[in-house]
């Protein structure tokens, strides 16, 4: 991530100078920073709402019930997390919200899942396999109805906006299955640079911050 961050910024500045777009690049810093805070602030309300609703679902046993139903699948996908973990039920809810295109609900539920996975994570600054799998499923963005896209097509006067649903569904399924298989593949082949060596490093990072 350090290199990506460096590359994004360094490349943009150098390219901006060559292209004579330095002014635009500089104002992009301001706009980007402002936009980030706007997004975060606008999330507070809906985040609070869904975290409240999710807590009711957990206390009533609904989340645990869903977890039990989908256990055969999640056991394979998330073989490292505890079987009774509340994360499993929430993963199912987050996945359903995503599939139905309920982005406003999906993010808060997804963040709740991350908190629960973090509780079972040994190294709090390094992603666990379960997190990587969950995010692989998430970034592949499995969707049954691409509602926003259809809205745009309708807005420009499409007579048959729903014709993209079938192709989109095929594509999203292919991407989704590939993401799961890739995450599984990397889970067994990814080489970390030795946990004991990286531990003091992360300590230093925290000190600097």
């Amino acid at each position: 991530m350090n290199y990506i961050f460096y590359f994004l910024i360094a490349f943009s500045i150098i390219f901006g100078i060559i292209n004579g777009r330095t002014q635009e690049v500089v104002s992009a810093i301001m706009d980007g920073a402002e936009l980030s805070v706007k997004i975060a602030i606008s999330l507070i309300g809906i985040m609070a709402f869904w975290l409240g609703i999710m807590r009711i679902a957990e206390k009533s046993g609904l989340v645990q019930f869903i977890a039990k139903i989908i256990k055969p699948i999640t056991k394979w996908l998330f073989n490292e997390i505890h079987e009774e973990s509340p994360a499993i039920g929430n993963i199912a809810l987050s996945f359903s919200a995503n599939a139905l295109g309920l982005t406003n609900a999906a993010t808060p539920i997804g963040l709740r899942v991350m908190q629960e996975l973090q509780e079972e994570n040994d190294d709090k600054t390094t992603a666990s396999n379960a997190m990587c799998m969950f995010l692989a499923m998430n970034t592949a963005g499995f969707q049954i109805i691409p509602a926003t896209v259809i809205a745009v097509l309708v807005a420009v006067g499409s007579k048959n906006p729903t014709e993209i649903i079938m192709p989109a569904m095929i594509v999203t399924s292919i991407a989704f299955i590939s993401a799961i298989l890739l995450a599984k593949l990397f889970q067994y082949t990814w080489k970390d640079k030795g946990c004991k060596e990286t531990a003091p490093e992360t300590g230093k990072e925290a000190d600097n911050a």
Binding site: M1, L8, S36, G52, G61, A127, A136, I145, V152
Partner: protein, 178 residues
Amino acid sequence: MLNLLSLYALPVLILVILTVGIIKKVPVYEEFTEGAKDGFKVSVNIIPYLVAIIVGISMFRASGAMDWIASVLAPLLHKFSVPVDSIPVMITRSLSGSATLGLFSEIAQKFGPDAYVTKLCAVIVGSSETTFYVLSVYFGSIGIKKFRYALIVGLLADFIGIVAAVLVCSKVFLPNIG
């Protein structure tokens, strides 16, 4: 039918959760407010990560680098009957959701709903998520600094998705247009 599903899914989900709560004698109001307390904390926690990723991507877009990459890729993609105008959408897809939607709206307006490029972009936009945004927000909210293989998997899946979109769309939509 599918549109109705997406309309009712959200309210029905809330109704079911609350009803099950009441039946199971959960003090729903107290538990709701208890859970909601975290909303502010979580949202504020992700600000540093949002700033890092959104500023970086805004700068990248403003520098004109996107047009340069598009012009490099254009001759190659032309062989696979990929319209040149769809390339920025493909590149932006993993970086920024709002920028992708903006680009897609422009294309839809410029070429009309029946153009092949519009349909291809619609499928690309409708079938994936913004990898960088999801990773930085989700990992940021719990303080994960080392993403390990999550980014590679996300980007590879995005790439596979784009290839699949090109293949599926050329099969489904191209013959109709001629």
